[in-house]
Structures are given as structure tokens and as C-alpha cells.
């Protein structure tokens, strides 16, 4: 990560307490550098998904603010990928990716180019007329990514998107994500509880404590080219080890 990168957005002292009294987030301040992949890493229930929802506007912070450098995001500025593919089961691949455009009242013709580009990007040419239940879990997730990217968002929010997939599919989609991110040059905020996935994907990792979630460390990762070989290097293992240690320390009472 180059030190010159500006933050796309900053969260300032965000806390979130749910109506039942559970405190999910405690004073989270974080810079999200533009054009990079930032990962929120933490144990289950540490509020990392809540933070993502607050950034997206789906949830509100109890206290604290989110500052966007280029002004508040409009419809389509934020792409969101959920843990499940979250597709309309009755609609085919093309129509699923068309959904954000349809909501913005963009005609099918006007949206077609962006949709075809997104389908190319995730390597799903020829599957436009397939329904979700005719696709594998990995392919469904790629449709979901295509839908999130089709509106050309400035930031892509991903909430444990590959958690439900098998290891091989997950590796493949990790590489796909890196390639796609280079191609469209957008900012990514990625939530995961997998140390290995975080180290492999990220330019920056924000390590979070168990509930209530706090940022206990921010670590920049610079391992060079990500290829399958990288996972076998000692540098990779060392980074994973350091991050694991931070997580364990955060877990200590």
C-alpha cells in the first residue's frame, strides 16, 4: 500500500448499542484508503457486520459519524455482497443484475452494456438466461458480485461473502476478486473471520476485539503479487501468525 493513498471514508468514534442493550461497537475510528482492500477481521459477533451495515447506511450508529471524502453516496455508489448470494430465485442471471438499474428506472437497453460488462468481469458469459438454482454456489456468488459492481460503485462492501463456500471455490473467488478489483479499480471493505483469507486479500487489516467490537490493531500488508504460491511462503505464514497473535491477545480478558 502506498502511503499517498487518501481515505475514501473515515468512521469517527462509531458506537452502536441495540435496543435490547447489547453493545455491538465501541468507539470505532477507521480510515478506509481509496482503491485498496481493507479487511475487518474479528471473531463471530464482534460487530464487524454491524460496522459494514452502518457504513452502507442500512443501520445507524448510536453515536459517531461516517465521513465520505466525495460527499454522501447515492443509489448505486455502494455495492453490497452478502454472506449468501441473495438473488431473486424467480429471475435469471441477467434480470438479477438488472435489479439495481430497474430500481433506478433505467431502461433495459440503457443498462445492457453495464450488465454485459459485469457478466464478462465475473466470467459468466453464456449464463445470462440461467436461474439461480441452475448454478453452483460459487457461480451464484459471482452473480452477486456482478450485480454489486454493475452500477460502477465507488466502494464494494463484502460481508463474509465466501464463508459458506468450500476451500477450493473460496481460493478461486479470492483470486477472482483481486483480478476484478484491479480491473474496476474500486475500494473494497471485506469482512471475514478467516486470518488466511484476510492476509491473502488485504492491503490493510483492521483487527477487532470480541463484543463490543473495538479496533485493536491496524496492520498493513505488503506481500507483493498474490498467487497460489504466495500461500506457501514463509512471509505469508509469518503475517498470518502475527495477525493470529493480535486476535488472541484481543480475546484475553
Amino acid at each position: 500500500m502506498t502511503p499517498t493513498s487518501k481515505p475514501l471514508l473515515t468512521t469517527n468514534n462509531i458506537s452502536r448499542t441495540f435496543t435490547d442493550g447489547t453493545q455491538a461497537l465501541d468507539n470505532v475510528s477507521l480510515n478506509i484508503p481509496e482503491g485498496h482492500i481493507t479487511t475487518l477481521l474479528g471473531p463471530s459477533g464482534c460487530g464487524k457486520s454491524t460496522l459494514l451495515r452502518i457504513i452502507s447506511g442500512l443501520d445507524d450508529a448510536s453515536t459517531g459519524t461516517t465521513n465520505w471524502q466525495n460527499g454522501a453516496p447515492q443509489s448505486g455508489d455502494i455495492g453490497f455482497v452478502f454472506q449468501d448470494a441473495t438473488l431473486l430465485p424467480w429471475a435469471n442471471v441477467w434480470d438479477n443484475i438488472y435489479l439495481p438499474f430497474r430500481i433506478q428506472n433505467t431502461s433495459r437497453n440503457d443498462a445492457n452494456e453495464a450488465i454485459e460488462n459485469a457478466i464478462n468481469l465475473v466470467d459468466l458469459n453464456g449464463f445470462e438466461n440461467h436461474h439461480p438454482n441452475q448454478l453452483s454456489g460459487g457461480m451464484r456468488m459471482r452473480v452477486s458480485i456482478a450485480r454489486a459492481l454493475a452500477t460502477n460503485p465507488s466502494v464494494l462492501l463484502m460481508d463474509e461473502p465466501f464463508g459458506a463456500l468450500d476451500e477450493m471455490t473460496r481460493f478461486r473467488l479470492n483470486d477472482d476478486l483481486l483480478r476484478i478489483k484491479e480491473a474496476v479499480n474500486c475500494t473494497v471493505i471485506f469482512v471475514t473471520h478467516s486470518v488466511y483469507e484476510a492476509v491473502y486479500l488485504s492491503d490493510k487489516i483492521a483487527v477487532m476485539s470480541p463484543r463490543p467490537g473495538r479496533i485493536i490493531a491496524e496492520k498493513e500488508i505488503d506481500l507483493g503479487n498474490r498467487t497460489a504460491v504466495l500461500r506457501a511462503t514463509s512471509e505469508f505464514a509469518q503475517s498470518c501468525g502475527e495477525i493470529s497473535l493480535l486476535l488472541t491477545e484481543g480475546d484475553a480478558p
Binding site: W90, H130, H131
Partner: protein, 257 residues
Amino acid sequence: MRMRLKDPLPPTLIGIAVLIGWEVAVRLFEVPHYVLPGPFLIAQALWQNASLLFGSLWITLEITLVALIAAALGGAALAFVMSRARWLERSLLPYAIVAQVTPIVAIAPLIIIWVDSAFAALVLCAWIVAFFPVLANTMTGLKSADPNLRDLFRLYGASRWQTQSWLETPTALPYFFAGLRISGGLALIGAVVAEFVAGTGGTATGLAFRILEAGYRLQIPKLFAALFLLSLTGILIYTILSILSSWALRRWIGAAD
């Protein structure tokens, strides 16, 4: 979703075996005709009274179908109205439940007195019995949209109308059809019960009236013939609704291209 019988052979064989056993038993034990007629005698009665019985079948079928269509439209419309606001659901649903739990036999005489047209009165009775499964199922369906998909619609700034027509309604459609299949059987039951209550009102000439009439005159084979037609009608309605449902939901199953 598909409830059609894939292989009709086993039930057909069972049916034939039962009919043969029935005929044999009736002859062997010399059961009187007015207690239990054999299948041959019933078929004969059906043949001899064909024009009368099929005329009555048509009347019952008309009542059933009008009530079923009204139940589908009315049940779905009510579900939509109630899903618009919590207070609407809370103020209307209790009355729908009252209509559902009150035995139709008990209110049918009142309806027949109040409503001038006998046809309208019978349709109303059948509708009261039939609309609730559509209403309850559609309401459940309208609330069953995937929360993540709801969030997605919200993220892109979808209006209430967009969310309702592109997310909630398609989600509710399989639930609606499941309710409709139950309502199909209930509409027939409602029509028959109402005809029974209306009885010898003079105007009622549906199948239920034929059953009553044949019972009074101890024409038991004719009674069985009418009964047979009723069962057949019920099966037919269920089958047609199942085919309609599979056709309407083909996109949910994933059309093969």
C-alpha cells in the same frame, strides 16, 4: 411444488381391486341394495340418471368455481390490504378468523334467508369457507421475503411500491398457490354444505340436493352415483389447480431452456 401423481398405475390397480372386492362382497353376503349397492348397480344408476345428475353437477360446479375465483381474488386482495399496515391487519384479521371458525352449517340458513338470489347465497357460503387459506397463506408469503433482499432493495433506494411488486409479491406467489389448492377443495365442500342446508327450497338442484332427494326416496344407487360425481369433481379441481400452479411457478423451479 408438484403434487401430481407421477405414476397413475398403482392407484388405478388399487381402485380396481377395491371395486371388484366390493362387488364380490355385496353379492356373496347378499347385502340389500338400499344398504350398500355394488359398483355395477351404481354405474347403472349413473347411466340411467346421467342427464339429471350431470345437470346438477354443472350447477354445483358453477357455484364452486365462482366461489373459488372470488376466494382467490378476495383472499389475495385482503392479504395485500392487511400487509400495507400493521393496524389494518390487527383490525381486520379477527373478523376473517371469525368467518373461518364459525361452522358454515350454522350460518348458512341465515345467509339463505338474507340473500334473495339462491345462487348468490350458495356462492357466498362457499366463499366464506374457501377464502381463508388464500388469505392466510398470501399474508405469510408477503412477509416471507429474504431480509437480505429487503436490505438490497433499501440500499438502492427502492420505493415501497417497487419492493412490494418486485420482491414481496413474487415471494408470496408460491404461498398463494398452496393456499388456492386447499381452497379448491373447501369451495366444493362449502357449496355442498350450503346446498344441503338450502335443501328443498325449490330452486336448489345441485348435486347435494340430488343426494338428499335420493336418500329420502331410498334410491341408494343413485345417491352413490351422485357421491361418485362429487369426489370426481374434487379430484378434478385439485388436479387443475396443481397444473395451474406448476405453470405459474415454472420460473421458480427454473425453466429449462
